[in-house]
Amino acid sequence: MASRIYECIGKISEAINENKDFLTDLDREIGDADHGVNMARGFSAVMEAIPQDETDIGTVLKKTGMTLLSKVGGASGPLYGTAYMEAGKLAAGKSELNAEDFGAMLNAAIEGIQKRGKAVRGEKTMLDALIPAYEAYTAKVTEGADLISALEEACTKAKEGIEFTKTIRATKGRASYLGDRSIGHQDPGATSATLTLEAILDYLKG
């Protein structure tokens, strides 16, 4: 039987696949038209690499990360790869997560992306969705919310983050070569990051 973490990664993979062309089109506007193709290639390799019955969340996330940094091909490969691997370190030996665990893992993922990409908030990257999402998530959990309702709030903020990326110019990644021409377009990575959080939420809601 497939483990829960396998199914959850499967949901993310599905969401990426369904939005493959959309993500690629976004990247056509301000990049090299490959973000959807990259991510879909990465996740189909992930679904082959992770054992269906593996219940150790740490093991699955580590494998997911290693596969992404090898198979995605673009900057998002090592960035997401590092994110999954850093989150996975905190889940070693666990087959269930509580609200605090998930928050700590999201934080570790963000720190991994920042270490790798040397970007901060406001540079028109995936961080502009993930950081506000994390902040909203922890605020909710501190108020006593459960994982699902905190993640709902996080997804709302991530979507606002996507909108925010339309208003700023890119200073990291390929889109930064375009200067002011990047203004007006939403960031592909912020979009795939939001799709990821939404897919996890979808899965948890069942």
Binding site: K71, G73, G81
Partner: protein, 128 residues
């Protein structure tokens, strides 16, 4: 002897640079490439880069030359994955000119620090 790794999004670019560099460093065997993805598509693969560094390493260090964008991020990821097992650094240099100078310097047996610093001097090369 110092090793060299050429990282490019394109396997053809990486192979072409290798060919060009070896014309000036005949017989040098420490130059490895990590171009494109395993399936031949355009991109960079941190695991392939890590393996190329391991192959290039003969104990005297490895200088990496990378093209733009994820070439650098993937090479940095590869180096982190090696966890200090190999003395390795990315040269802050143009990939074509840098590779040629690196190959010449490494092939005459110069030490790591010198190969790296000579390679990085290519940043100042004027073309006209």
């Amino acid at each position: 002897m110092v090793g060299i790794v050429i990282v490019s999004h394109s396997a053809k670019i990486a192979e072409g640079i290798k060919e060009l560099a070896l014309q000036m460093a005949i017989g040098y065997e420490g130059l490895y490439t990590a171009g494109g993805l395993e399936d031949g598509s355009i991109g960079t693969d941190a695991v392939r880069i890590m393996e190329a560094i391991q192959n290039a390493d003969q104990g005297d260090g490895v200088v990496v030359l990378a093209d733009l964008g994820s070439g650098i991020i993937s090479a940095e990821t590869a180096i982190d994955m090696l966890e200090g097992a190999v003395k390795v650094q990315i040269a802050d240099a143009p990939i074509v000119e840098g590779a040629i100078i690196a190959a010449v310097e490494a092939s005459i047996g110069n030490p790591f620090e010198q190969v790296l610093s000579e390679t990085e001097k290519t940043r100042e090369f004027r073309k006209i």
